[in-house]
C-alpha cells in the first residue's frame, strides 16, 4: 500500500517498515542511532488525517477514563467533573440543598450532554463509562499478547506434538460461538465485578491471538536468520526469545488494536444485556440500555453513549488497520 504512495520516498519507506516489521537487518541498526524525532516523523509523518483524528479521539478517551478514575479514587470527586451517580433533582447530602436538575433534559451549560431518566449528568456518566471499556480492552489485550502471543510463537517454532495438543485445545474454544460461550461463563459468577468481566473476556481473547502469533511464528521460523542462529548452535530457547518473539510482536500489537475494538463491542453488548459490570457504575452499554426505554421522549440520551462507543471502535479500527497496512501485515487467522 504505502510502497505505491508517490509522496513517500524510498528512504522513508524502508525506515518505516523496519520500525514496524520483521527482519531488522544491519542497515537499520545503524539507522536506529539517528535522532529519535526523525524516526517518529518517519513513522507517523504520513498518517492520513482520518487516522490522526482517530488517534486523537483515542487519547481523549484514555485521558477521560483515567481522569474520571482519579477523580473518584484520589480526589474524592473534587475535580471539575460532576458526580456520575448524583440525582441532580433530589436532595444533595453534601451541600444540604435540593438540586435544581430535571430528568431527561437537553444539553445546557450545567449539563453539557443533558441528564438521564433520573436526572444524573450524562457527560459525567459517559466519561466514567470510558473506564470500563478501557480496562476490559487493556486486560484482554494483555492476556492476548502475553499468553496467546507466547503460546502461538512457541508452537509455531517447535511444531510437533506440542503444536497439535495446544492448537486442538484452542480449536475447541473457538468451536463455540464467542458470545454464547461468554454468556455461559459470565453466568457462573454471582458478583460481576470489573475484575471478573475483564478476566473472562481476557481468557476468551487468548485463542485468536494464539492463531495470529502461530501463523507469524511459522513464517519467521523458516527465515534465514533463524536458520543461521540454529546453524551456529544457539539454544532453541534463546532463538525463541531473541529471534522469533521480537518479530512476532509488532504484528500482534497491530492485531491488538483491531481486537480491542471487538472487545469493546463485546463488553458493550454484555452491558447492554445487563450482564456486565453492575450498576451504578456507568458503562456505555448500560447507559444505552437505560436510555432506550425513554426513546419516545428523547433520543439524545441514546445518542451520546452510542456515539462514544462507535467513535472509539471506529478509531481503533482505523489506527489498527493503518498499523497493519504499514507493516504490510496479514493476520492469517482471520
Amino acid at each position: 500500500m504505502t510502497a505505491l504512495d508517490p509522496k513517500l520516498d524510498a528512504d522513508q519507506a524502508t525506515g518505516a517498515a523496519a520500525e514496524l516489521l520483521v527482519g531488522a537487518d544491519a542497515d537499520t541498526v545503524i539507522e536506529e542511532e539517528v535522532d529519535t524525532r526523525g524516526r517518529i516523523r518517519r513513522v507517523f509523518g504520513d498518517m492520513p488525517w482520518l487516522v490522526k483524528l482517530s488517534a486523537i479521539w483515542l487519547v481523549l478517551v484514555v485521558f477521560g477514563a483515567i481522569y474520571a478514575k482519579l477523580d473518584i479514587s484520589v480526589f474524592g470527586g473534587a475535580l471539575p467533573l460532576q458526580d456520575p451517580d448524583l440525582q441532580t433533582n433530589g436532595f444533595n447530602a453534601a451541600t444540604g440543598e435540593f438540586g435544581t436538575g430535571e430528568p431527561i433534559e437537553g444539553p445546557s451549560w450545567d449539563h453539557w450532554l443533558g441528564t438521564d431518566a433520573i436526572a444524573r449528568d450524562t457527560f459525567a456518566r459517559v466519561v466514567h463509562g470510558a473506564w470500563v471499556s478501557l480496562i476490559v480492552a487493556l486486560i484482554a489485550a494483555t492476556f492476548g499478547v502475553v499468553v496467546g502471543g507466547f503460546l502461538g510463537s512457541l508452537v509455531g517454532f517447535v511444531r510437533g506434538r506440542t503444536e497439535t495438543i495446544i492448537m486442538s485445545m484452542i480449536d475447541v474454544i473457538l468451536a463455540f460461538p464467542a458470545l454464547i460461550l461468554l454468556l455461559a461463563m459470565v453466568s457462573i459468577f454471582e458478583v460481576r465485578s470489573l475484575t471478573v468481566i475483564s478476566l473472562v473476556i481476557g481468557f476468551l481473547s487468548i485463542p485468536a491471538y494464539t492463531r495470529v502469533a502461530r501463523a507469524n511464528s511459522l513464517a519467521i521460523s523458516n527465515r534465514e536468520f533463524v536458520a543461521a542462529a540454529r546453524a551456529i548452535g544457539t539454544k532453541p530457547r534463546t532463538i525463541l526469545f531473541r529471534e522469533v518473539i521480537p518479530n512476532v510482536l509488532p504484528t500482534l500489537l497491530a492485531y491488538a488494536m483491531v481486537a480491542a475494538a471487538f472487545v469493546i463491542v463485546v463488553e458493550g453488548s454484555l452491558s447492554f444485556l445487563g450482564l456486565s459490570v453492575q450498576l451504578p457504575q456507568s458503562t456505555w452499554g448500560n447507559m444505552i440500555n437505560q436510555a432506550r426505554r425513554d426513546i419516545r421522549v428523547d433520543v439524545s440520551q441514546v445518542v451520546w453513549p452510542s456515539l462514544a462507543l462507535t467513535l472509539t471502535v471506529l478509531s481503533l479500527n482505523q489506527v489498527g488497520d493503518w498499523f497493519q497496512q504499514r507493516g504490510a501485515v496479514r493476520s492469517a487467522a482471520l
Binding site: 463455540f176 460461538p177 464467542a178 458470545l179 454464547i180 454468556l183 461463563m185 447492554f272 462507535t310
Partner: protein, 318 residues
C-alpha cells in the same frame, strides 16, 4: 474423497463431545443448589425431602456419573427439565424457539448478501474513484456500529418517528400470516445484517478487484461483452465461493447477535430465552441452549469445510 469426509465426521464427533463436556462442567459450576431452588423454604426445613429431590435429580452422584447420565439423555433428544419452571422440557423450549431464531438468521444473511453484492461490485468496478471511496467509508462505519445500536436507531426511525413498523414483539406466521410476521421481522433482521453486510461487501470488493485482473476477464472484454455482463457472469462467480465460506465463518457471530437483537426487540427466540434463563439461574435451560447452539455451529462449520473441499480440488491436497 470418502476418507476426507470420514475424517471430518470423526473430528466433528470429537469436537461435539468436548463441547458438551465443557458446557456441562461450566454450568455445573453455577452457584446454588437446584434442589433448594425447587423446594424453596421446604427444602431448608426438611432435609429428608431435600435428599429425595437431590436423588431424583441425580445431584447425589459424582460429576462424571452425572455427565454420563446427562449425555445419554441428550443423545436421545432429552435435555432435561427446567428447575425453575417445573414441567417445562428444555427440548420443547428449544423446539418452540428455533424457528424464530432460524428465520431471523436466514433473513439477516439474505439481507446482508443482497446489499453487499452491489456495494462490493461498485467498489471494485469504480476502484479508487469517489463511488468506491464513499462506499468504503460507509462500510467502515457499518463495521464499527454494534448491532444493538443499529437496532435502536432503526426503532427510532421506523417506529417512533415514522410509525411504519412495530418497535418490538413477534408475530408468528402460523398465527398472523406472513405479512404480519415480516412486519415484525424486518427491523431486527436488518439490524442483525448490518455488520455482516459490511464484512461481505469488503470481501466481494477485494475478491473482485483480483478477479478483474484475470486474463479471462480481458478475453471477455476483447470479445466485446458489456461491462455489466462481465461483472455479473464472469467476475462474480469466483467470489461466490469465498462468500459461502465467510457466511459459514461468521455464522457464530450471527448467532451471538441474535441474542442481543432478540433481547432488544423482545422476540421469543432462543437468545432471549437464554438471557432470561441466565437471570433466573435456570441451569438446565442455559445448558441445553448453549449445547444446542454450539453443536449447530460446529456442524455448520464442518459442512462449509466439506462444501469447500468438494468445490475446490486444490484444498484437498493440503
Amino acid at each position: 474423497m470418502l476418507a476426507i469426509i470420514g475424517i471430518r465426521v470423526l473430528r466433528l464427533v470429537a469436537t461435539i463431545f468436548v463441547v458438551t463436556f465443557l458446557t456441562f462442567s461450566m454450568t455445573s459450576l453455577l452457584p446454588g443448589d437446584p434442589a433448594v431452588a425447587i423446594l424453596g423454604q421446604d427444602g431448608i426445613q426438611n432435609p429428608e425431602l431435600l435428599a429425595e429431590v437431590r436423588a431424583e435429580l441425580n445431584l447425589d452422584k459424582n460429576f462424571f456419573h452425572r455427565y454420563g447420565l446427562w449425555l445419554g439423555d441428550a443423545l436421545t433428544g432429552d435435555l432435561g427439565e427446567s428447575y425453575i419452571n417445573r414441567g417445562q422440557e428444555v427440548s420443547d423450549v428449544i423446539a418452540d424457539r428455533v424457528p424464530v431464531t432460524a428465520q431471523l438468521a436466514v433473513m439477516a444473511i439474505v439481507i446482508a448478501v443482497v446489499l453487499a453484492v452491489p456495494i462490493g461490485i461498485l467498489g471494485a468496478y469504480r476502484q479508487g474513484r469517489w463511488e468506491d471511496k464513499a462506499s468504503s467509508a460507509g462500510v467502515q462505519v457499518a463495521l464499527s456500529v454494534p448491532n444493538f445500536i443499529t437496532g435502536i436507531f432503526l426503532i427510532w426511525l421506523f417506529s417512533v418517528q415514522l410509525g411504519w413498523l412495530p418497535a418490538s414483539n413477534w408475530n408468528r406466521v402460523s398465527n398472523k400470516g406472513l405479512w404480519e410476521n415480516l412486519k415484525t421481522a424486518i427491523l431486527p433482521a436488518t439490524a442483525l445484517a448490518s455488520t455482516q453486510m459490511a464484512i461481505f461487501s469488503r470481501l466481494i470488493r477485494s475478491d473482485m478487484i483480483a478477479t478483474l485482473k484475470e486474463n479471462y476477464v480481458l478475453a471477455a472484454r476483447a470479445k466485446g461483452l458489456s461491462d455489466r455482463f462481465i461483472l455479473a457472469r464472469h467476475a462474480l462467480r469466483p467470489s461466490s465461493l469465498s462468500l459461502a465460506t465467510i457466511i459459514g465463518i461468521n455464522f457464530g457471530a450471527l448467532l451471538g447477535g441474535t441474542v442481543i437483537i432478540e433481547t432488544l426487540f423482545a422476540i421469543p427466540g432462543m437468545g432471549f430465552r437464554l438471557i432470561n434463563a441466565i437471570f433466573q439461574r435456570d441451569i438446565q435451560v442455559i445448558q441445553g441452549i448453549t449445547v444446542f447452539v454450539a453443536v449447530v455451529y460446529v456442524v455448520i462449520n464442518t459442512l462449509v469445510d466439506l462444501f469447500y473441499t468438494v468445490l475446490d480440488p486444490r484444498i484437498r491436497r493440503s
